[in-house]
């Protein structure tokens, strides 16, 4: 850490999510200082970074990982590179924030976690939704016992429009790419581990998604160690926008989070009483949560505490995603123990 107590950060990958993290680190995380960015497109990144007072831009992540003046790295490069950079960063003694997933493969994920473990590094995984004010509040209601023991969890998670087909092909499939966020949410809300998964996948929106070997609609059922059951319903296309709701039903009551919308205005006219559609997509809906997650990461590094989303959380969600994919193909409930 610098003498001013700021955590000195290097960001690997300045694509869409990388830029968001940088902007938040600069403007909304007082204890962070972004000192360098690594991106293959050095020229454009330099120009962009200059606005934020960031002078050092390099092409090669390793240059940044091995920079002794840097305390922590934020890994936002393509998924296929995550595990490698996590391992190198751990070896280089860095604290690490890594976008989800660590890897699409179990082996790579476990190797990365082992390296982190060996180095005694901190590793926070980018499950940003945990930092959404609504879901955080529900987690607190569960944790404090206000709604009693959780019995049933319902998660609705629908995108406004399918990703490009090229993306679908490399995404790892809907469970790995999309539902994985909901798997983490389910674990977060209940505070319990998933032991078995049953998943149904359909192609109801675009036949090309079927050709690409994926589903566009999925319903997943999770069984938890504590007896709770969770349903998750996903669609790649909700014509009214990004639908992100959860409900936890417990022995003393239920807590439900409605969607967030651009305004709280309702218009009453001859067609009905009309409210806003939900915020369009994840950038709109989760913008604040991205800032919160960076803030928590930096706070952890500074205070030397355990990150709020650990490598183990990343691993568990991967296992659930793999079990779900297997379940959808084999049409049977799959135990997590079958995967690991």
């Amino acid at each position: 850490m610098a003498s001013d107590g700021k955590v000195r950060i290097g960001v690997i990958g300045a694509g869409r999510i990388g830029k968001i993290h940088i902007e938040n680190l600069v403007y909304r995380v007082p204890d962070a200082l972004v000192v360098a960015v690594a991106d293959i497109d050095v020229e454009n990144t330099q120009q962009w970074a200059a606005q934020y007072g960031i002078e050092k831009v390099v092409a090669e992540p390793k240059e940044l990982i091995n920079d002794a003046t840097i305390d922590a790295v934020v890994i936002c490069s393509p998924t296929s590179t995550h595990a490698e950079y996590v391992i190198e960063a751990a070896r280089a003694g860095k604290q690490i924030f890594c976008e989800k997933p660590i890897a699409q493969k179990l082996d790579a994920t476990k190797q990365a976690l082992a390296a982190v473990d060996k180095a005694g590094a901190k590793l926070q995984i980018g499950f940003n939704r945990r930092f959404d004010r609504n879901f955080k509040h529900i987690r607190q209601l569960v944790e404090s016992g206000e709604i009693g023991e959780p019995h049933i969890v319902n998660i609705t998670s629908r995108d406004p429009a399918p990703p490009p087909l090229e993306y679908v092909k490399v995404s790892g499939g809907i469970f790995m790419d999309m539902t994985i966020h909901d798997f983490d949410m389910a674990r977060y809300l209940t505070g319990s581990d998933v032991i078995e998964v049953y998943a149904v996948g359909n192609v109801l929106i675009d036949p090309q998604i079927k050709e690409a070997g994926d589903f566009d609609t999925a319903v997943t059922l999770l069984k938890f160690a504590n007896g709770a059951v969770c349903t998750i319903d996903n669609s790649r296309q909700a014509v009214y926008g990004y639908d992100q709701r959860v409900e936890v039903f417990g022995s003393k009551g239920a807590a439900a989070a409605q969607n967030e919308a651009p305004t709280r205005v309702t218009v009453s006219n001859k067609d009905g009483v009309i409210s806003d559609k939900p915020l369009y997509f994840f950038l709109e809906r989760y913008m604040d949560s991205f800032a919160e997650e960076m803030n928590d990461f930096v706070t952890c590094v500074k205070a030397n505490t355990v990150p709020p989303v650990t490598g183990e959380d990343g691993l568990q969600s991967l296992l659930i995603a793999m079990a779900a994919a297997k379940s959808a193909v084999e049409n049977r409930p799959v135990k997590l123990s079958e995967i690991g």
Copy 2:
């Protein structure tokens, strides 16, 4: 009362509201027995009444008023006849339910009340909205002290469409015809008397209403004896339907009643998140309250208790309506003591 303990009722006037009362008395008020109906259109009324097992239909209300086998009359004839029938019914020893208003004139109203008083009769006035489940609940919240001392009351009361111009001309004006319900509501909710009125009347919907000497839009401010202030806003034309909401704000909280709608369904689509429009008009919205008011009237007669809406309540609302009309013309606050 008949030996079976049922209150024997004669209904005067079988127009729209008369028919509603009869239907409710027959099907939803177990302690009532409708034994006769008086209506100028004997033939059609006979046919209609037969369905409800009512055999006696007469043209002349006095025949019914003087029928010794009848305990109570329900007066639903045109407003101009109310006072006369109230007086005759009181003299004939009947218990009386009379649609609002008793009369558009103060003298006639007072004479009717005097006759009722002299006869020791019960007189209930048809301010049916007091029996709406929502407003009743708010009244209970005020009465129990749950929201503390009432400080501010807001009433929104808008019709879906203006009445026919011919009706407007004989209606007594918007304050007497429409806002009078809100005046009674304001007194009911606060449990306090109005001492001063300031009203603004506009014609913003149909210039013909201006020619007819009336307003189609009105905002009224009431000052109560207990220090509370009430705003009432009226329009003859809310394109989204009948808008009937109230809010009471007090020292310990606020209680607000939203509109009732045909269903609790919301549709989310590319245009927004759409709920039902409010129930179209008073027949839809207040159907249950008409049954409740009849039930309460019959219960009062049977139990020999004071009606929930008295002749004095009718008089007070008339005085407020007259003060409002005067205020709108003279553009100044008018004390109720100026009217009486």
Copy 3:
């Protein structure tokens, strides 16, 4: 039918639901005439029925089934007797309304349907929730194509409190007793048949329910012929009351029905912004739907049309319930074709 065009009805069983049907038939179904009631407790039933002008009360249902002046029977006796009375009524040439389920066993159900079929009788099953104004509206939105092809259906159906243990023991289990309503709802909303079921049952509320061989919490997943998937979550104990919501998500939008509550009043105070709990239980929530279902049955009989809920609907829901129970025990998806 009587010369006055009224459908002459005999009601078998005057317990709780029988009394509700009688009351609705008398007061809210103009085209019906209840001419006789069969109940083992003749004395009390006679006294009660007299209020509704029903003079004939018998102990023996067959007396009523064989009464040539009766057009239709409404069967509200214990479940174990349903099939027998359906068969006898069909043979006697009666039109039949039968509470759900026809029987807990498949054989008995099929025999009853065969008898009905042979007699050419009408048979309506008591899935009253189809007549709830909210669910009916959603069905219309699906049917009209307004929300496109249905992809996902979510049904939340939770009771306020578990039934007595003695009832649990003879109920046929949660899927047969409670979820069966949701199975019918799912078929009704989608207009499609269920082909496979996966169900999870838990005991999280009362261990005695486990001893009785039943579950108190259940999550069921249904696959439809048209590709849609439905989740149903059930609990025997929602501390905030009867939770009855459905959502249909389709290619053009989503339609969701919120709970109905005693009032639309919200109270804002130091504790929050507080709305009413849902209507307490099925009698409060579905009272109107019971009247609607009787009305539709009588209309069908009069107009000689197909009932809105057929014997086939009863059979299908039974098959789903049996598949769900099997699935919960065997922990695997069960095809309906395995049951039939």
Copy 4:
């Protein structure tokens, strides 16, 4: 403007609101550069400002007003000094943002506006609520004609707790201090000028406020040039928090803004269905609007356009506040033409 195109800003007064503006200018207004701050407490301000990279802190506002490198001043000093600094800044060729009100007196206000006019300076007044996303959306709905001609406007504006008595004494009274925001909102929403005011003031919360010569509860009725009527209800103490709602009712529909709350979570338990209280007070509710207003001011300066809230807007709201105060004392409608 600096060569980098940034508007160079000096901030006068670094109290609560001054600090908010500085923080927003630094972090959320890319085109602004805060180059100096004037505050009587130089030492503490220096320390605070250093965090934001602001090096120049002076005690004397004039030093900053006469700094040739500064393009615009943001005046956040006590109200009594506003007019003087506006005049000096205008004379010094600066663009001006001034917190509301310019002055509590009409003369001082007019002198300030005349100086601004003479200098051809821009002057934006701090009616930040215009920049709230909800109210802005309603203004757009009115402006686009989507809800037709505005007929009735209802504004509810209640504070969570009264200010300290010492503040009340110098506040200029509730209409000048609190309702003035609502007056501006009413003008903003309708896009029309107020011609007459009728106001009722009460003391229902704290008798000491009466001793201080002020009201703690007020209801105001505004008549607009275009025929619309607006009601405003104010309380200094809503126990459930900051209540900030508006509704515009027009010939084609109504648009209403509900309160904003910390989360969209509802808890259903034995006490009811409970949502969050509104955001506690103006700092919570209007934080984004403060950033928006600064952004718009800087954009105006840069693009050389008319500010979204002009000196004339400040003057009009002052006139309405004066008319309201007069009306409350004299208990009669007061025309704005009586004040000017």
